[in-house]
């Protein structure tokens, strides 16, 4: 119970931070609406030549709304972690009675509690405005919980990336690499079924399709059987990312102690 109260306080800090960081959120909202408008025009143009998948252009816009919602909702926590490591502030956190990784995660959850609903409204409002269509209720019921679960895993990736600053100093290059892999192998803009076979096979060995294409894919086909498979894969990858975060942090703390930091 005390643990819950403790990390609940960090989550509340996250909520307050998200509220004060409105400028960045407004920027993401604007970008979101524009990109939905651009892709709506693009899919209409592609439809004239024949869509490469057996869905309507409006469905592809809703797919993009779902993937972008998942990508844009988690705040880039690695920037803050890296800055704390660089300034040496992280050393002060080590003597306090909480886990740094768990506290960072709780703060990320608090931020998500503000950002995800706001961006969900922008996503659904924007997609409806440009398509005049709504996805089925079954699809929404599946996309929302799996999308939120995927956001947690993405937040975990941000935490791991930030922690590498203990050794790398600048974690941005690592962030760029996995972010680009997420965009390509996760199917941010295109459903993976459009990709060449070798890219689909390669993507299946990574966590990325389970974070974007599979949750957003429910917009195209609500399949409860696929939901169980996705739940299993998402849970496995989230656990893996959490274990990596703890292992990286433990290793970092050990090296700090060795150096007398």
């Amino acid at each position: 119970m005390r643990t819950l109260v403790k990390y609940g306080a960090f989550a509340r800090i996250g909520v307050k931070l998200a509220v004060t960081e409105r400028g960045e959120l407004y920027g993401r909202m604007l970008f979101f609406v524009i990109i939905l408008g651009v892709f709506s025009a693009l899919w209409r143009a592609v439809a004239e030549a024949g869509l490469p998948v057996a869905v309507e252009p409006a469905t592809l816009v809703w797919y993009l709304a779902a993937t972008e919602w998942i990508v844009l909702s988690p705040a880039p926590a690695h920037v803050e972690i890296e800055s704390e490591i660089r300034r040496g502030d992280v050393a002060c956190q080590l003597v306090r009675p909480f886990s740094y990784v768990a506290a960072t995660t709780a703060q990320g959850l608090g931020r998500l509690a503000v950002r995800a609903p706001v961006l969900a409204m922008v996503a659904s409002g924007g997609a409806f405005a440009v398509t005049g269509r709504l996805p089925s209720g079954d699809a929404v019921v599946l996309v929302v919980p799996f999308g939120i679960a995927a956001m947690l895993a993405i937040h975990g990736l941000y935490v791991v990336t930030g922690l590498t600053a203990f050794w790398l100093g600048d974690s941005s290059p690592l962030f760029w690499i996995w972010q680009k892999l997420l965009f390509i192998l996760g199917g941010l803009m295109l459903p993976l079924s459009i990709y060449p076979g070798w890219m689909q096979r390669l993507a299946a060995y990574t966590p990325f399709p389970y974070l974007l294409a599979r949750p957003a894919g429910f917009v195209m086909a609500s399949d409860a059987g696929g939901a169980w498979d996705l739940a299993w894969h998402l849970a496995a990858w989230t656990l893996t990312i959490a274990l990596i975060a703890h292992a990286v942090f433990a290793r970092a703390v050990k090296s700090l102690h060795l150096n007398g930091g």
């Binding site: 920027g27 693009l42 143009a45 760029w176 680009k180 965009f183 295109l190 459009i194």
Partner: protein, 229 residues
């Protein structure tokens, strides 16, 4: 930036492999569009990267030091910063242009002029948007987002946009002058096309310089001690 450009282009590579023609645009046209846009943008951030900082200089009253210099203030401010990522953009942009197959010895000068027109317009739009803090304080974020919007629109084929959107892209958010006109200049070369593109770019830059000079008359010193360099 090389990675960024290559990753984003993967989308077009995958899509155009399945749908080879979108309203007359094929993979090589997209390569040319990416090439000209990336090279133009790269040239600006590599050689006039300070333009992105103009808004901050104005907001914080940090132009004082530049105003006392014998060199033109705008030129000095723009040249103050150079971003290494710009060179990556120029390199990847050049690769895209070559891969498009549109460039040969005969039309290389036209391609060069197309890139120059794009860069001049990017620079002009940067000066114009980042001069906004002369009239509206704390508007740097808006300026930055508006400038980045040009890049967002410049990387999609022109036939996607019509009506009011098209008007916007050739005026307030000059993605049309940054990429659509220069690309058209290379795809369908004509003297009129070249002259129109260069004139549009030059006019945009002239408007931006005039706006900056007007803004300077409103500038209030920050009385700050700032060291550049």
């Amino acid at each position: 930036m090389v990675l960024n450009n290559v990753v984003f282009f993967t989308f077009w590579w995958v899509l155009l492999a399945r749908v080879p023609d979108i309203r007359g645009w094929q993979l090589r046209d997209m390569q040319l569009l990416f090439g000209i846009t990336a090279t133009s943008y790269g040239l600006v951030v590599a050689f006039a990267g300070g333009v992105r900082e103009l808004g901050r200089f104005i907001d914080e009253g940090a132009l004082d030091t530049l105003l006392t210099q014998p060199k033109p203030t705008l030129l000095y401010a723009a040249g103050l910063h150079s971003r290494a990522s710009g060179f990556g953009d120029v390199a990847s942009g050049a690769c895209f242009i070559i891969a498009s197959g549109y460039v040969g010895w005969a039309n290389a000068p036209v391609v060069g002029l197309a890139v120059a027109a794009g860069a001049v317009t990017f620079l002009g739009a940067g000066i114009l948007f980042f001069s906004l803090p002369f009239w509206l304080s704390r508007s740097e974020t808006v300026s930055r987002q508006a400038w980045e919007l040009i890049l967002t629109f410049a990387l999609y084929p022109e036939p996607l946009f019509g009506g009011a959107m098209r008007l916007l892209l050739f005026t307030l958010l000059p993605a049309g002058i940054v990429s659509y006109l220069p690309v058209d200049m290379v795809r369908h070369p004509s003297v009129a096309g070249v002259l129109m593109t260069l004139a549009a770019a030059a006019m945009y830059l002239a408007l931006a310089v005039w706006t900056f000079k007007r803004g300077l008359t409103r500038y209030a010193s920050g009385s700050r001690f700032v060291v550049f360099g």
